[in-house]
């Protein structure tokens, strides 16, 4: 009996095209991802092979989510087939075995679902064979076929996932006998998946998140998160770790569900509910109605009333439907889930400002609204026919067009309902959190300018597809396809214009400072373009509306035409013409007025640049020494005009006969050099050579002028600059000046792309050298174009704004409605500074003759005092421990959230509005990330602005690691070591995550090549650990000694070797090996607490013994790991509480073997024991470092 049903299910499935179509889709996706870098599934970068075992694991995991939707079809079919065809009453009355029927069907569908996923492996195999053969991708990007990974991923992912999905869907289907409910079940599973995703974002919950993820994707992600590229290429997923636990858990769940489902499964058909009639009804008195005289409208087309009636009926039946209510509920749950934890940022919450809520609402609304639009577009178009009322409705004298428009609009109103509901929840959330600046107008503005128009657009597209295709499910498929497939095709064709990507517009980003910003105009035009396109499609659909029984396109068109009036054709004409006109205008603005290059062309330009001018790389260049800026900012026009007088000096030993420039912004920059002629350079080359009439001898100086003139024209395809805006203009000297000579940073850096264009392998940075050469003559920031410069600025802006330039304010005036300022830098500084203009409030404080200032947006005053405190605290520490501060001012200046960083320029620190200004510090009495960022940027006033490394490996350690260390030291003034652990944790994670995504090679700290995860993440952890091991004063001594030798020194610039010289002197002999481990090599500790036993002794004290495993490994640059013998001092400690807030005991123990047993006697019973309790050593897995202590 079983085999009969099983075979039937399986073979029927195999005979149908569905399995093969799905398999083909899956295979195609994988194939695309394997052979090109344009299709991305889960992201593979750099050294990781395209078919590495971990890549297989990740793909299989992610594609399982798609696979689930296919599986729903199989399981739902298996469960409902007999019901659908009304066969069940016959079938179930025969003496078939329940188990045979139930499991036969189930297992048949299960195998079909799993079979689809085999497409993944086929995609991998074919991709790996064809990709390199067709030269789409280099053969070195492919590894051997990972058969074991194929097998294991099939067993670990595909089989259990399909079992779980199947058990749920099969249960739902047999119970509710409704396809909709089955799909909702699938939706529910996806929800579970995304909930686990949001749990994942909090660092401590990783193992929980790994466990609750129904598909096991995150469990696997957690397992491999710290893998280096080498391990990614060599390690196959196994039956271990979080993944195994996760799989066991969910397989058990699946089996339990299936078993319960089987127990409660019954052949008897679901009894229909019989509603009792209310007793009173029959006796209800009623008057007898007379047949009324009615007047039938003589109006030829009572369009509006028809529309209203259609709309009402459509909207009511959708809004009352279970599907809508369930989807709305899901959306609400997701929104609440997302905003519940607040906006976490390094353990702090941001205020729920409206733009943050907008991001959340829009993100969720767009997802659910698209589901709704796709689903109900089919429902609506098919509703009359599905409800068997089409013949009646079609036989009434209405215009088909009216009905069609009513359908599209009722869809949009339904979407609006969801959106507004979410907005309401967002506002309630703000209110509950005490944020009372309700910007209802902003919510509405944002909705109307963006999502609303998109919903309108997609509603018309989907309705159009449904009408034209006239097959509900095929149209569903095409609708979903239209959502992203068009994008994929266009990405492959490398067309960047928003005009050809369905529904695409430039994005805007709302900023409290600058409102909707510079993209708004373009967004509105593109919206109109798409909207009218949709309207035209809808009108065309009207011609093909399947009125009556006509099915073929020809018949429908024949019938449609008959009932079309002249007003139909005139509106079709009107909208088509309007669309053409708008298209023309948009085209003129985005292609003619503001031409742009697509990414491919840009890449080719880079290649040309390198090929043509690389040989000039070491040509002698002059340096800038004095710069006088004359800048006029016109915020209302987003325009900037500048003229810079520059003194340049030949600091080299060779005469210079020509000046070389790299000019990226060719349209806006002009160069004037007296007594010279342009001998090379035309638009598109980016490289300009001016021959000097008279050679510039070593030591000689000359003058030149650079102008920059930016005036935006019309609107662009995408906003190219957010530097010049109405409120919050923020640009730096590099943006308005050309650079001298050949610029290495303009080269293509991705090594696979370089290979594709036949470029030689490229070093990110020159190698660290023991004895200095010409590379030491440049610092890594200005690359030789300047050393320490004098800067003077005359800057003007509109009357309502303040303009800020580096240095002290010399004078200020208002003339002709413009504010004019004159700034001058007090001490020669790095040629790296910003110019800013916005409407600001200013908070000031004087500290030891230094002006502390915060320039902020009016509504963002809440943390301003705290920021001044942070600047002061930093200055106090740095002036005490490092040396004097050389500027007369320290400014924090808020800028719009188009970027979310803070940056240090001499004496000024622009700080994004997204960062510190809106963080809720109300409950924070001590240090916090806002202070930390300020202290970091203040640290740069020393590290980068007083001393800077030569342009070679290791240089960023001297600025970024030191600044981060400085910041930690300021924090440490007010935090105990346990609290510091929370800061260190983020730095450590930044390092570990970063190295697993390394695209070229990892380098030891002392040779860091401007890699953020190393110089910020690892650098700060190591320097922090170092001060814990040798003492804060000793580390500071080394820093101060180094600073004093090189402060504001002309080249040669120092290297990391120069700092190590100072550091070595401070480190006792016993710990010298740490310097090798931590700075010169890549070292990991693997510390584990295996066993804790605790007994109360006779004295009433606690004897605790710990079994510890301590290992040390070194990684090669490619990430290959080698075990080395440990011989290090490691902390062992006890926490008083389970939350690890109070460390009651800490001792540093020398460990020189893998297994160590330690005994302690404590007065009090600790809650937890831990190796390296403060987490200062680099250990990839910290979870196994601590254990709960329990008394025996």
């Amino acid at each position: 009996m079983f085999s009969e049903f099983f075979k039937k299910e399986l073979f029927t499935g195999l005979k149908r095209p569905m399995v093969y179509i799905f398999m083909f889709i899956v295979g195609l996706l994988v194939f695309g991802a394997v052979v090109s870098d344009n299709v991305q599934i889960g992201g593979v970068v750099g050294d990781v092979k395209k078919n590495a075992p971990t890549v297989v694991g990740r793909f299989v995991g992610i594609l399982n989510v798609f696979g689930m939707l296919f599986a729903v079809a199989f399981f739902n079919n298996a469960a409902l087939r007999d019901h659908k065809y009304g066969f069940f009453e016959i079938l179930f009355s025969t003496p078939i075995s329940k188990a045979g029927y139930f499991f036969g069907r189930f297992i048949g569908a299960w195998i079909l679902s799993c079979l689809v996923m085999v497409g993944i492996y086929i995609g991998f195999i074919i991709g790996a064979a064809i990709g390199p053969a067709m030269h789409w991708i280099g053969p070195e990007r492919m590894g051997d076929t990972p058969w074991l990974a194929f097998f294991n991923s099939f067993v670990l992912f595909v089989i259990p996932n399909m079992l779980l999905v199947g058990s749920i869907i099969f249960t739902l289907a047999t119970r509710f006998k409704s396809t909709i409910i089955s799909f909702l079940g699938a939706l529910f599973i996806i929800l579970g998946y995304s909930i686990s995703a949001s749990l994942m974002s909090d660092v401590d919950n990783q193992s929980l998140a790994a466990l609750v993820d129904v598909f096991g994707i995150r469990a696997y992600a957690v397992d491999i998160q710290y893998y280096s590229p080498f391990e990614m290429n060599t390690t196959t997923m196994g039956f271990s770790g979080n993944l195994l636990k996760n799989r066991l858990l969910w397989t058990t769940v699946a089996l339990v569900i299936l078993f319960l489902s089987y127990l409660t499964f019954s052949f008897s058909a679901k009894a229909k509910k019989v509603k009792k009639k209310k007793a009173g009804d029959a006796n209800q008195k009623q008057s007898v109605f007379q047949k009324p005289t009615i007047s039938i409208s003589a109006d030829k087309t009572p369009t509006w009333k028809h529309f209203a009636s259609f709309f009402k009926i459509n909207f009511l039946s959708m809004a009352k439907s279970a599907t809508f209510i369930i989807i709305l509920a899901f959306a609400v749950i997701m929104l609440v889930g997302n905003i519940w934890g607040g906006f976490e940022y390094f353990g702090l919450k941001s205020y729920p400002v409206t733009y943050k809520m907008l991001d959340e609402v829009n993100g969720i609304s767009s997802l659910f609204v698209l589901i709704i639009l796709v689903f109900f577009s089919g429902e609506l178009v098919w509703r009359d026919r599905d409800s068997h009322i089409s013949e009646v409705i079609d036989g009434t004298p209405h215009q088909s067009m009216v009905s069609l428009i009513a359908k599209a609009l009722s869809l949009v109103v339904l979407a609006t309902t969801i959106h507004m509901f979410l907005v309401l929840i967002a506002i309630i959330y703000q209110a509950v959190n005490g944020y009372t600046n309700f910007e209802v107008g902003l919510y509405l503005m944002d909705f109307l300018s963006g999502p609303f128009i998109m919903y309108l657009f997609w509603a018309t597209i989907f309705v159009f597809i449904q009408v034209l295709v006239n097959q509900k499910y095929l149209a569903y498929f095409l609708s979903v396809l239209s959502l992203f497939l068009v994008d994929l095709i266009i990405a492959a064709l490398k067309i960047d214009s928003n005009m050809v990507v369905l529904g695409s517009t430039p994005s805007t980003r709302y900023s409290d400072m600058n409102g909707f910003g510079p993209g708004m105009e373009a967004q509105l035009w593109f919206s109109a373009y798409w909207l009218i396109f949709g309207v035209v499609l809808l009108i065309i659909a009207g011609m093909f509306w399947p009125r009556g029984m006509n099915k073929s396109i020809k018949d429908r068109f024949a019938v449609g035409r008959k009932s079309l009036s002249t007003s139909y054709y005139s509106s079709l004409g009107f909208f088509s013409l309007t669309w053409v006109a708008i298209a023309g205008f948009v085209y003129y603005n985005t292609q003619v007025l503001n031409p742009y290059f697509n990414s491919e062309t840009e890449l080719e330009q880079q290649v040309e640049y390198e090929k043509n001018y690389k040989h000039f790389e070491n040509a002698p260049l002059p340096s800038m020494t004095d710069l006088t800026f004359n800048i006029d900012i016109f915020p209302e026009d987003r325009a900037v005009k500048s003229k810079v007088d520059i003194t340049i000096t030949n600091k080299t030993s060779k005469p210079i006969d020509s000046l070389h420039f790299t000019v990226l912004e060719e349209d806006y920059v002009s160069i004037e050099i007296p007594n010279s002629k342009l001998v090379h350079g035309e638009k598109g080359t980016f490289y300009y050579i001016y021959q000097l009439d008279q050679t510039l001898a070593p030591g000689d100086s000359m003058q030149m002028v650079c102008k920059y003139d930016y005036l935006p024209k019309g609107f662009e395809n995408r906003v190219t600059t957010t530097k010049f805006v109405r409120n919050g203009t923020f640009f730096n000297n590099g943006d308005i000046l050309p650079t001298f000579g050949y610029q290495k940073r303009f080269e293509v850096s991705d090594k696979n792309r370089r290979k594709k264009y036949d470029l030689p392998e490229r070093d990110r940075m020159p190698e660290l050298q023991a004895t200095c050469s010409h590379v030491c003559m440049k610092n890594y920031l200005t690359e030789g174009s300047a050393d320490w410069v004098n800067v003077e600025t005359f800057i003007s802006t509109s009357e309502d704004q303040i303009a800020i330039a580096p240095g002290s304010l010399v004078s200020q005036s208002t003339e002709n409605g413009r504010n004019k300022y004159h700034y001058k830098v007090d001490t020669p500084s790095q040629n790296f500074y910003a110019f800013i203009s916005a409407k600001y409030e200013v908070a000031r404080r004087k500290w030891k003759g230094i002006d502390l200032e915060v320039y902020y947006h009016k509504e963002h005053e809440v943390n301003v005092e705290g920021m001044l405190d942070a600047v002061q605290k930093s200055l106090e520490y740095f002036t005490t421990h490092f040396g004097p501060y050389y500027h007369n001012q320290a400014r924090i200046i808020e800028f719009p959230r188009y970027a979310s960083f803070a940056q240090a320029f001499p004496g000024t620190m622009p700080y994004s509005e997204a960062l510190g200004f809106i963080i809720d510090l109300e409950d924070e009495t001590k240090n916090n990330v806002v202070d930390a960022v300020i202290a970091h940027e203040m640290g740069h006033q020393y590290w980068a602005h007083q001393v800077i490394g030569a342009a070679m490996q290791g240089s960023t350690m001297l600025s970024e690691s030191f600044a981060e260390y400085s910041s930690l030291m300021v924090m440490k003034q007010e935090s105990d070591p346990v609290e510091m652990k929370d800061f260190i944790k983020y730095d450590l994670q930044r390092y570990l995550r970063g190295r697993s995504r390394e695209t070229e090679k990892e380098l030891p700290l002392a040779k860091v090549e401007n890699q953020g995860h190393i110089h910020y993440g690892k650098g700060s952890v190591i320097l922090y650990a170092l001060q814990d091991y040798i003492g804060e004063a000793k580390v500071n001594n080394a820093l101060r000694g180094f600073l004093e030798e090189y402060r504001y020194q002309e080249p040669p610039y120092p290297t990391s070797n120069d700092f190590m010289r100072y550091l070595k002197q401070e480190v006792p002999d016993s710990l010298q090996s740490l310097l090798v481990d931590w700075f010169d090599e890549i070292t990991f500790y693997d510390l584990r607490l295996e066993e804790v036993t605790c007994v109360k002794n006779a004295n009433g004290k606690y004897d605790i013994s710990l079994d510890i495993i301590a290992k040390k490994t070194k990684a090669s640059e490619a990430g290959e790991m080698t075990d080395v013998t440990i011989a290090d001092w490691v902390d062992v400690g006890f926490y008083k509480d389970r939350d690890e807030k109070e460390l009651m005991f800490r001792e540093r123990v020398y460990m020189n073997q893998e297994n160590t047993k330690l005994n302690f006697t404590l007065d009090e019973l600790p809650a937890k024991a831990a190796v390296d309790p403060l987490r200062i050593l680099i250990d990839r897995v910290y979870k196994d470092n601590r254990k709960t202590v329990s008394l025996e």
Binding site: K275, D281, A282, Q284, Q286, V288, F289, Q290, K291, P292, T293, I294, S295, I296, S297, D299, P302, K305, H306, A308, S309, F310, K312, I313, L316, S317, K320, S321, R383, S387, H388, I389, E391, V392, I393, D394, G395, T396, P397, H398, R547, G548, M549, N550, S552, D555, A558, V559, K562, S563
Partner: protein, 290 residues
Amino acid sequence: MSQLKITNLNKTYPNGTKALVDVNLELSKGMFGLLGPNGAGKSSLMRTLATLQEADSGTATLGDIDMLGDPQSVRKILGYLPQEFGVYPRITAAQLLDHVATLKGILNKKERNELVDYLLQKVNLYNERNKSVKGFSGGMKQRVGIAQALIGNPQLIIVDEPTAGLDPGERNRFHNLLAEVGEEVIVILSTHIVDDVRELCTDMAIMNFGRIVYNGQPADALSALNGKIWRKVIERSEKENYQNNYNVISDKMVAGRPQIHVLSDADPGNGFEEVPPNLEDVFFVRCQGG
């Protein structure tokens, strides 16, 4: 009211089925019955007249209106109850009728309400007017369908199998209702229930295989068969024998035994007795010919 004239109407479906073959009919005010077995082409004809389906060739005019070329004009004076009448989920009877009334051009809200109330009462659904139609029984749904077909003073009412699923009481009420409106307008009643036609229609046609096999008054049809219908109650085992030897036009069970009718100009003897022809006999005789 003007005449409905159908000339040489043809329709062949893409799968080759000939739904309408040279259909010619003339109808005037009153009830017109359209009889025929399942699949005879009745619904195709009705749908074509109701502007829901294109004909391949032929014409149909209603007074001055070219029914096939100007569907909008037909729709303004049409009341149509299709064979399969369903309803929207989650919409009440009153809402549904209100919607149809609006579409038929009754734009005055008050008039519409009165009309909806009136019709609901007529079809005995006034008490259920605010309930979702989806939960109605088949008969109740059919009554809603009848109500909507009567909205807006239609000049041409087409009802396709209207009494299917109605209990005898409901059926009578429906017949009365139809007869009431049928005095003034053209009513086309398609059915395979012979009694419906007998009770209501002054004119009728019988269709089979897409053709009109009879067109005329029921009385004429009956008189044509006078003296030609013979009846006999037989044993079940004899059925085949009789079918081979006589022109058996129908057999049905009466009190558990087969009763056959045969067509014969003369007395077939052998225990047959002559019976007055009824419409069912007409139906079977006419359909046999096809």
